[in-house]
Subunit: 200 residues, 2 copies
DNA sequence: CAGCACTGCGTACGGGTGTACACATCGGTG
DNA sequence: CACCGATGTGTACACCCGTACGCAGTGCTG
């Protein structure tokens, strides 16, 4: 029994991974110190030791989930190409994401949405949107980028919450509408009448 | 003790109301047969009798919450005016809604988002979006209406999840972009030119 | 080599949960 | 009025939860 567990720096990490699996399988409802301990194959006391509260564990889990997607986003070659059709690329990316294992999408969204009721998660959720916005801002202005993220969130939610299918072409069209407008009105002054798109 | 409770048709209704209060106060996590029974001041057995499962109760609660907001939407005079700036009206409406008691907004969103993990709630969530879309479709085409809803959802979420403030002018601008007819013609199937923001 | 502070673990406790089931009560029927 | 099935209620049970706390193993210090 004299395991060198004290010097197991991956212990904490493994608990977080286990938490992600548990939430993916049974939802946040199914997350408890016990279930995650069983999943990670560590004693109960270990989970309470590393993460005093479940909130703390959720924060770590959400952050980890974010890292994965953020990396995926940054490494996307299509996003990097400066002459690509941004709307089409984003629509495609979203399609690939939601088209993959629904379990994973559910998992990430569930954690993200949990911030609604858990203030401790909100900074992490904010980090997340800021990351995506920062990536997109290279291809457009920050204000537009923020709206793109909002729209993508909304589209995903509609697909997930209503059992509806994700329509890539439709997403592309709407993202393009957001992108089309030269932002001539963000300043807080009086707004001008809606300007016609210039046509590409 | 010979209360005529058998003939209390509001009993069920009152339980639903109590459930809404409980969720508003303590979140879905805090919802149990016992808490709702206490809140509604009915015996424990009564809640299990009227709603065999908590899911069933949640469905009723979400539906009730939807009714309230749907009515508010339909009765909005600003929405009815055919010559109003739709983007501005929606942005204002959203501002009023999110600016009000955060508790109520949280409540409704939490129930709505719960559909992510509870398939039984999904039809009700779909009803909800369809209702809003139907209302908006009177002022634009259904496809655009759907995107407006998605964007509004996304904007609300960003405000709620990241502690950010809601920026009405910004919302107006982005909603207007969705409403603007795109320069490049929509691909097969979805082409209808009827509305164009007049901007006055 | 002896001692010690500290990190990490196992267990036990009090409390809250969903649910099954036996019981009271009521409206209708002969 | 006597009965009876349906409707609604109270209680008891088995389970799972978070947390507190005493104890073992470890690396450092002298």
């Amino acid at each position: 029994m004299a395991r060198a567990r004290r010097h197991d720096p991956e212990r904490r990490e493994r608990i977080v991974d286990a938490a992600l699996r548990v939430v993916g399988r049974a939802g946040i409802t199914g997350l408890s110190h016990r279930t995650v301990a069983a999943e990670a194959d560590v004693p109960l006391g270990s989970t309470t030791y590393h993460f005093a509260s479940l909130d703390e564990l959720l924060v770590a889990a959400l952050r980890k989930a974010n890292e994965g997607f953020g990396r995926l986003l940054r490494e996307s070659p299509a996003l990097a190409a400066p002459d690509a059709d941004l709307a089409a690329v984003l629509a495609r990316l979203l399609g690939e994401w939601t088209g993959g294992a629904r379990a994973r999408v559910e998992l990430e969204y569930e954690l993200y949405l949990a911030a609604l009721r858990r203030p401790s998660l909100r900074p992490v959720a904010a980090e997340w949107t800021d990351t995506v916005i920062a990536v997109l801002a290279h291809r457009t202005d920050p204000v537009t980028a923020r709206a793109l993220v909002a729209l993508m969130d909304g589209l995903c939610l509609q697909a997930l919450l209503t059992n509806g299918a994700y329509d890539e072409e439709y997403a592309r069209e709407m993202l393009a509408r957001i992108l089309n407008e030269p932002p001539n009105s963000p300043p807080p002054g009086l707004s001008e009448p809606p300007t016609r798109p210039t046509g590409t």
